[in-house]
């Protein structure tokens, strides 16, 4: 009766299972575990970067740094009018004295708004449409025209190094995935070559009896696929447990930016594809290794 990979149970006995199994399933389990973590990290960073970008990059803080509070209030009112009239602005939110107090108390202590220090007025502005250099310049011209002491602080500017870092980390994760894939393929190649040497006489007899390279390759790829399946299940299970524990810890922190790195269902689908890809990769590499090695024989 034909079974997995179209090989009968009797044909499977041509290559004894125990000789090929060895450490490969365990090594593949480790590789799959590390690959899933690397992919999850990459996806989480991408998700976090997107969320931060969506939240902050289109936002500008306008600070009005007048010498005294009267001038500040006058300029504030003028800026507010200008912003309200501008099509560049989707929304503006002027921070109240209480909000400013809350913002500054950790650094300057309480009661500062009642003292001699004039605290800058602050307006959060959400830009309508994409944030470009031109948009920023137009907004700056608009504000400076009514408030010479105003200063624009685009969030995207100070976020750029963070985005660059996140992008670098994503590339690093991708590089790790590639390295782990290459390492997995190398392990399969070495294992299959060893098995080919071990079973050389049997393969030689099979060839002389009319066996094709593909028939021989099927025996090896089936064994490797089973090892990879076992390793993938084990590695995936461990990785799922690790990711679950990490997400629990992140939930416990309640930190906004960390929360933004949550994986959605599409990301989870990608993670599920990792072990499947591992099995397919190992199987294809095993087949190619056998076929290429046999091509050197008559």
């Amino acid at each position: 009766m034909l079974g997995f990979f179209g090989i009968s149970r009797a044909e499977r006995r041509l290559i004894p299972d125990t000789r090929l199994a060895g450490p490969m399933p365990w090594v593949i389990a480790i590789m799959i575990f590390l690959t899933i973590l690397a992919v999850a990290a990459g996806l989480s960073l991408r998700s976090g970067a997107s969320a931060i970008n969506a939240q902050l990059s289109g936002r500008v803080t306008v600070q009005i740094l007048a010498g005294d509070s009267d001038a500040r209030d006058e300029q504030l009112a003028a800026v507010e009018r200008a912003l309200d009239a501008s099509p560049l602005v989707a929304r503006r939110d002027t921070l109240s004295d209480e909000e400013l107090q809350q913002l500054l108390t950790p650094w300057l202590g309480g009661d500062i708004l009642d003292d001699a220090i004039t605290v800058p007025a602050m307006i959060d502005v959400d830009i309508a449409g994409p944030m470009t250099t031109q948009t920023l310049q137009e907004l700056r011209n608009l504000i400076v025209a009514v408030s010479p002491d105003a200063r624009l602080d685009p969030h995207g500017q100070w976020l750029q190094p963070i985005f660059d870092l996140l992008l670098s980390l994503q590339f690093l994760a991708l590089f790790l995935v590639i390295l782990l894939s290459v390492a997995t393929a190398a392990i399969v190649v070495l294992t299959v070559r060893g098995a080919l040497n071990t079973h050389g006489p049997t393969i030689g007899v099979m060839h002389l009896l009319g066996s094709t390279d593909v028939q021989v390759a099927r025996l090896f790829q089936r064994r490797v696929a089973l090892d990879a399946l076992f390793g993938s299940l084990l590695g995936s299970g461990l990785a799922a447990l690790a990711l679950y524990l990490l997400s629990r810890q992140i939930d416990g922190l309640g930190a906004g930016l960390l929360d933004s790195g949550q994986l959605d269902w599409l990301d989870l689908l990608v993670l599920v594809l990792v072990p499947l890809s591992g099995i397919i990769l190992a199987t294809i590499v095993a087949r190619l290794t056998v076929v290429i090695a046999l091509r050197k024989t008559l």
């Binding site: 009968s8 009896l209 094709t212």
Partner: protein
Amino acid sequence: MQEIVTFDNVGLRYGTGKEVLSDISFTLYPGSFYFLTGNSGAGKTSLLKLLYLAQRPSRGLIKLFGTDAVTLTRDRMPGFRRRIGVVFQDFRLVPHLSAYDNIALPLRVSGMSEKDLDAPVREMLDWVGLADRASARPATLSGGEQQRVAIARAVISRPEILVADEPTGNVDPEMALRLLKLFESMNALGTTVVVATHDVHLLARIPEAHMMRLFRGKLADPTGVLRHPPKPEARNPDDVLPSFPPKDASDYFRQGPDGS
């Protein structure tokens, strides 16, 4: 009659060594029986390797089944090899497989289903007198039993050419005779048989067989008979065939070596 094998000025050397076979030319016809003789080291096994496509010649032309075997591509090799049964000098049984599985190997390689191959394998086991040793592994079989498994494996797929390298080298005279009968039976069914041996007593058993003698890598053929042997149809089959093999091929595998 169309020749089944043609060697024309074939030479073989391993690596950069000297030629182990030189200027080998002969023709084999379907349904004929050939003995290949010669002293140890004369090149018998090397010549057989060329015949069953385990080696390519260093020079010359080999035609198998009407096709140039020298330039045969790898993907076409299996199809040709399935038409040739080989009894190796060292048996080459797969050590972790039972006698049953070793004999079934050619049928499995050719894609026969497990259901279909069971009967012929069991009949073949019975035929070579190993029905009760079906599950035994080669290591637990005697030399003679291993040889019979190797022969059963070579003939089970009814090859067009049967090549046997010193098939009686490890068996007693009685078993040697039975094996020879087996080869004659195959020959009677139309299989071209080539037996390499240095057992002169064996040669006398089949006087109709053609003799090829190798001496230091060259075919000793002073009369030209080997190069152009008489065509088989010139012979009277009744003179050649012993009474043992049934004429009907379907009954062939159902009978024991002694015809019982």
